[in-house]
Every structure is written in structure tokens, then in C-alpha cells.
């Protein structure tokens, strides 16, 4: 048991001595070479004005250098010591100037940001006639117990008629609706007159009567079920239904 330990101690000692000898050897390396002769270093600056342009617009690169004999800008090539140049980058570009002289090399950069044009509006989705109908045709609203077209509804009615004339394949049903007040039967009759009033006004405005069916729901299918004036107004209408 004692013998192996003595052997380990000896090994550690020898390794330590080798390491110490190595370190001593570096300290005695030769002195550094003398500094090079003191030549002037080049300077360089590069700027872009403006540094942000829209796509297709030009900007002006300006640069100045000193102590340089060989000056170039990436993408442009060799240039004079100082100057300016109009450029029209297609995309955002970092211009890189290299000025070389006997005293060394100096770099300068200038970043030109090119704003991408706004994406073109997506091509309009091709709407079906039914979707156009839903977007354009407005219901016609009535006064209480009345079946004549109100003055303030004439504009919507004319617009409806114009749309229908521009879309001659569309056939419609005009539904007459009424508010909840009064009898079921009288409101069905009143709704009949409302749908007829809308149909007749469309015919007057040039829409073919054979394209227009009428129907009355009276107060059977209200759009709004509260008992107040605004709800009742919502329910007194000629409602357009797309048929084809």
C-alpha cells in the first residue's frame, strides 16, 4: 500500500518541474519589431441626402476622403476623392466606400432606406348579384297606418330602382311589414298596400313590373320585437327579397 503512494508523489513533482521550465523559456522571447514609418492614414466620410426615399426616387450620395489614392464605392466603382452622385436604389441599400492610401485603408458607409410602395389594393372580389343586391338595395319605410311612399324615402327608392335597372336579371319580392299595433287581419291588408306601393313606385321609376312580386306579412314577422317607437318604425317597411 505504501509503495504506490510514493510513486504518485514523484510523478507530480516531475510534471510540475516541466511546467515551470516551459514558462521560463517564454520570458526570454526576442523583442518586438520597431514600429513602421509614420505615414498619414486616409480619412473617409459618406452620406446620402435624403437618406430615405420612396421607391423610384433619387438620392444624392456625397463623400469626402483625404490621404487616399484609390477610392471606390461598391456598385458605382472608382470615384474621385470628393464628390457626389445621384443614385436611385431599387431597394434599401447600404453604400460602402473604401478609401485606400499609403497610410492604410478607411471605410465609410451610408444607408439609404427605400420605402416600399403601398401594396396595391387587392383586386376587388367578384361579388355575386345577390351580394350586390344586399349591399345596395335599401328597404322603404312607412308612417304609422300609411301605405304611401314618404318624401324622405324617395331617394332610397330611386336608388333601388336604378340598381334594379342596372341589373335587369334580378327578380324581387317586396314584402309589406307592419308594426305590432292593431289587428292581425288589418295589418295583413295594410302590408299588402305597402308592398303594392313600393312595386308601383318602382314601375314608375322604370323597373319592369313583371320582375316584382309582392307579399304581405302584416305583423307576423317583425324585424324588431320591442314595444317602442323606434322598433315600430323598423317594422313598418317594404322589404326587398332577392329572387334570382
Amino acid at each position: 500500500m505504501k509503495h504506490p503512494i510514493k510513486k504518485w508523489i514523484t510523478l507530480v513533482f516531475v510534471l510540475g518541474a516541466i511546467l515551470m521550465l516551459g514558462a521560463c523559456k517564454k520570458k526570454v522571447a526576442p523583442p518586438p519589431p520597431p514600429p513602421p514609418p509614420a505615414l498619414a492614414s486616409p480619412t473617409a466620410s459618406l452620406s446620402a441626402n435624403p437618406n430615405t426615399v420612396d421607391k423610384g426616387q433619387a438620392t444624392t450620395l456625397s463623400w469626402q476622403t483625404t490621404n487616399a489614392t484609390d477610392i471606390s464605392i461598391d456598385g458605382i466603382g472608382t470615384v474621385e476623392a470628393s464628390g457626389s452622385r445621384q443614385v436611385t436604389p431599387a431597394d434599401s441599400t447600404t453604400y460602402h466606400l473604401t478609401a485606400k492610401g499609403t497610410g492604410g485603408t478607411q471605410d465609410a458607409t451610408a444607408r439609404v432606406t427605400v420605402n416600399a410602395p403601398p401594396p396595391p389594393p387587392p383586386p376587388p372580389p367578384s361579388l355575386t348579384e345577390e351580394q350586390l343586391f344586399a349591399q345596395n338595395v335599401k328597404d322603404i319605410y312607412f308612417d304609422y297606418d300609411k301605405a304611401d311612399i314618404r318624401a324622405d324615402q324617395q331617394a332610397d327608392l330611386q336608388a333601388d330602382a336604378q340598381f334594379l335597372q342596372q341589373h335587369p336579371n334580378i327578380r324581387i319580392t317586396v314584402e309589406g311589414h307592419c308594426d305590432e299595433r292593431g289587428s292581425t287581419e288589418y295589418n295583413l291588408a295594410l302590408g299588402t298596400n305597402r308592398s303594392d306601393a313600393v312595386k308601383n313606385a318602382l314601375i314608375q321609376a322604370g323597373v319592369g313590373g313583371d320582375r316584382i312580386k309582392t307579399f304581405s306579412y302584416g305583423k307576423e314577422k317583425p324585424f324588431c320585437t320591442e314595444s317602442n317607437d323606434s322598433c315600430w318604425q323598423q317594422n313598418r317597411r317594404g322589404h326587398f327579397i332577392y329572387e334570382k
Binding site: D145, S183, L188, L190, T192
Partner: protein, 447 residues
């Protein structure tokens, strides 16, 4: 007419006319003579029927029978029913058990006594009923009836109705009772509006149509065999017919346009509103659908015709020809149009069986700042005098007379939803008949 005191008097006159002269006479006479308010009602005792067999089913059936009979007599409007708390301890089940002096003196002090017995045997029920004039000691029996049927609650209810109608016929001036009558109505309780029916007292409610479209304005034919109504079809509202003989829809012409609110004449023609020529006008057609002719013209709208149920010679209807809807009458050929209401919003007329009265829904003061309510009114057609039947009870509409002219069934929103109620034609004794879903436009059978 606008004077409240006078209005109260005329109410009495008209009700008196109703109850005494339902079949004949003229309201003008009663208004001129100005005799008593209403009629003295017969003081009637109706003792619970007694079991005549030991069958254990008797208990339930007796309760059904006694409740139904009492309710029928109470509804009739011509009796002062003596409270059961005044009855002797021993009530009779058959004539030999009647002690006249126990009934014709205080406390019951009855004029009439209905009594009898009921017994189930081998699933059959036998009911014996009597009506006694207890103030006539010599020959008290007014009525003695015996009924045999299956021992079911349904059959026992019908027997009670039949016996009640016998009593009402004998004591009510020869006018048939209504206990076996039916009411047709619109119910949305299953989703879509369909035509339903029920007994006059609200029992036995069930759907007639299952069309899945909107069906409205049921009107039963005078003989009870056909039901006309208006329903949404692919081409518009059309008049539809259901046959109770065949228990199915039967064909009827499609007229085109909006065809609404049919009404049967006593001889089986149909008046209705049609926009087939443009504006809604009143048309008449034979019960078979033939011989269509137009009675009114103009923009109207004209709707809700109702025939004079006694003569068939006149039609009342609603028109918006001057603005808000008003009630008009005309001859059955469309001539002699007369406006009956002078203001407000008047709709849903229904002509009484005796031909004298219209009942209708009227918002008398209508317009901005006039928070009127839809109430039911009764108008004497000849004099245009009217009385108000409902008061301060929400929107009331679609009144319809019972076959005896003593009752009106109607729809009311007084509970917060549309339900069907009946009342006496003087506005008293209001009873709610439906409770489930929304129920509207009741129409009472002609008999």
C-alpha cells in the same frame, strides 16, 4: 252617447235586449221603453250527483261530472247558482229522495234543483239526471234524462255538457246551451301558427292543422263540417278548407294575391278579402269556390268581413279608406255602404247570432298623446249605439259571439301574452281558456 250615465243606461238596455230578445225583437224597442237592467236570474241549486253502483271508478268520474256540470251552469249567465254550503246534509240521488221544503225555503231558497246519480258497471257508465221546480209541489219534475256511455272521463264530460244544455234550454227561453260548442283558434305553441280547437270551456285543446306555414283567421262553417282559414302558400295568402267529415284538407281555388279573413254566410258562402285585382277588397265566393264576385272597390284596404249571421243579407267589414280603419256595413251585394264607427281605430267586427249587434275591437282615442287601449265594444247596428265591454285590461281583439248570443270569446294580452278568454256579452264573468304559448283569433262554432 258620450254621457257616462246615459252610457250606463244603454248598457243595461242592450244587455236586457240581449238576454230577453236574443232571438227576436229590436234593440230600438228596448232603448225606447227603458225597462229594467238585465233579467232576474233563476235561482238554481245543483247538488252533487251520487254514486249508484259500488264501482271504485265512480269517485273520479263523479268529480269530473259534478265539476263540469257546475261550471256549465255557472257559465250560462242565466242562473244564480245557490252555494253548496246552503244545501241540506242529505242531497237526493233520485226523485224519491227529494224533500222539496228542504230546498224551496231558506237557506237555499232555490227555485230549481238539478240532481241525479252516476254509476259505472263493467266499464260502462249510466247517468240519471233530473231538474225539479222545487216551488211547484204538485208536479215538480221539469226534466228527467238518462245517459249511457263508456266509463271514461271524456264521455262523462260530454254527458255533463248535454245535461247542462238541457237545463239551459228549458230555463233560458228556449235558446240552446253552448256546453257542447267548440272554439277554433290560432296557436303558436308548437312553433308555427296552426289552427287549433278546444271545447267551449277550454278543455280538450288540440291542433287541427299541421301545415308548417303561418295559418290564421279560422272560421267554422255553420254546419260545423268545414273550417276555412288563411294560410301562406308559395303564391301568397290563400283561403284553405279543412273538412271534419274527411279529417283532411280539401281543395279550394287559389285566387292569387293576398286572400285573407274568410267568413261564412248562414247559407254557406264565403266572404273574404282579396288583393287579386290590386288592392285588398271584399269578395264573395260559393262554398265550392265558384262564382267569385267582388263587392268593394278602391284602395281600401278592405278586410275582415263578417256576415249578419241571422239574415245573411248584410256584411260588416273593416276599411282604411278614410285613414285609420273603421267598421262599415253593406248589403250582401256590396251596395249601401254605411260607416258605423266615427273615430279611432276599429277592427275585427263579428255579427251576433240574432243579427242585432256587432262586437269589435276599438281604440276609440288613437293618436299621439292618446294612450288608448284596444277594448272590446258592442254596437247595436240599427242605432249605432255602443257599450264598452272590457276596461283597463291591455290589448283585446278578435271577439266572436257564442251560438247562444250570451257570450263573447276574444283574445287578450292582459296577462302579458296573447291568450283566449270568454265572457258574458255584458263584459262580466271573464274566464281565461288558454294558458300555453300565444293563442289568438278565436272563432266560436255556430251551435
Amino acid at each position: 252617447m258620450r254621457n257616462p250615465a246615459y252610457r250606463t243606461r244603454s248598457l243595461g238596455f242592450i244587455v236586457a235586449a240581449l238576454l230577453l230578445l236574443a232571438a227576436t225583437g229590436s234593440a230600438q224597442d228596448w232603448i225606447r221603453t227603458g225597462t229594467g237592467l238585465g233579467v232576474e236570474k233563476v235561482r238554481l241549486a245543483a247538488s252533487d250527483f251520487k254514486p249508484s253502483t259500488p264501482d271504485p271508478k265512480n269517485t273520479d268520474l263523479l268529480k269530473t261530472f259534478n265539476d263540469t256540470l257546475w261550471n256549465d251552469l255557472d257559465n250560462a249567465g242565466i242562473f244564480e247558482l245557490v252555494s253548496k254550503s246552503f244545501y241540506p246534509e242529505q242531497v237526493p240521488g233520485q226523485p224519491s229522495e227529494v224533500n222539496l221544503s228542504a230546498w224551496n225555503q231558506q237557506p237555499p231558497n232555490a227555485s230549481m234543483l238539478a240532481f241525479g246519480n252516476l254509476g259505472v258497471s263493467a266499464d260502462k257508465v249510466q247517468v240519471q239526471g233530473w231538474l225539479y221546480d222545487v216551488k211547484s209541489s204538485g208536479s215538480p219534475q221539469v226534466l228527467g234524462k238518462q245517459y249511457n256511455d263508456n266509463g271514461t272521463a271524456e264521455a262523462v264530460r260530454v254527458i255533463a255538457h248535454k245535461f247542462a244544455d238541457e237545463i239551459i234550454f228549458r230555463l233560458g227561453g228556449g235558446i240552446a246551451g253552448i256546453a257542447e260548442s267548440k272554439i277554433y283558434f290560432v296557436s303558436a305553441r308548437g312553433g308555427q301558427k296552426e289552427i287549433w280547437t278546444m271545447d267551449y270551456d277550454g278543455a280538450n285543446q288540440h291542433a287541427v292543422t299541421h301545415l308548417g306555414a303561418i295559418s290564421l283567421s279560422p272560421r267554422i262553417s255553420p254546419d260545423g263540417s268545414r273550417l276555412a282559414f288563411s294560410s301562406v302558400t308559395k303564391t301568397g295568402w290563400e283561403i284553405m278548407l279543412y273538412s271534419f267529415d274527411l279529417n283532411r284538407m280539401i281543395s279550394f281555388p287559389r285566387f292569387g294575391g293576398m286572400n285573407l279573413s274568410p267568413s261564412w254566410s248562414p247559407d254557406g258562402k264565403l266572404a273574404f278579402s282579396s288583393s287579386r285585382n290590386g288592392y285588398p277588397n271584399v269578395f264573395v265566393v260559393d262554398g265550392s269556390g265558384g262564382n267569385l264576385r267582388r263587392l268593394t272597390s278602391g284602395q281600401g284596404p278592405d278586410v275582415s268581413p263578417t256576415w249578419n249571421r241571422k239574415t245573411g243579407a248584410q256584411i260588416a267589414f273593416v276599411s282604411g279608406r278614410t285613414g285609420l280603419p273603421q267598421v262599415y256595413t253593406m248589403e250582401a251585394d256590396g251596395t249601401n255602404v254605411q260607416r258605423l264607427t266615427d273615430q279611432g281605430y276599429a277592427v275585427s267586427p263579428n255579427w251576433s247570432p240574432n243579427g242585432q249587434f256587432l262586437t269589435f275591437s276599438w281604440m276609440r282615442k288613437y293618436g299621439p298623446g292618446e294612450p288608448g287601449s284596444n277594448d272590446l265594444y258592442l254596437m247595436d247596428v240599427a242605432s249605432k249605439q255602443w257599450v264598452q265591454l272590457t276596461h283597463d285590461s291591455g290589448r283585446n281583439d278578435a271577439p266572436c259571439w257564442s251560438p247562444d248570443g250570451r257570450h263573447v270569446v276574444f283574445q287578450s294580452h292582459r296577462t302579458g301574452s296573447d291568450q283566449i278568454f270568454s265572457m258574458l256579452a255584458d263584459g262580466t264573468n271573464v274566464k281565461q281558456l288558454t294558458f300555453s304559448g300565444n293563442n289568438t283569433q278565436p272563432n266560436w262554432s255556430w251551435k
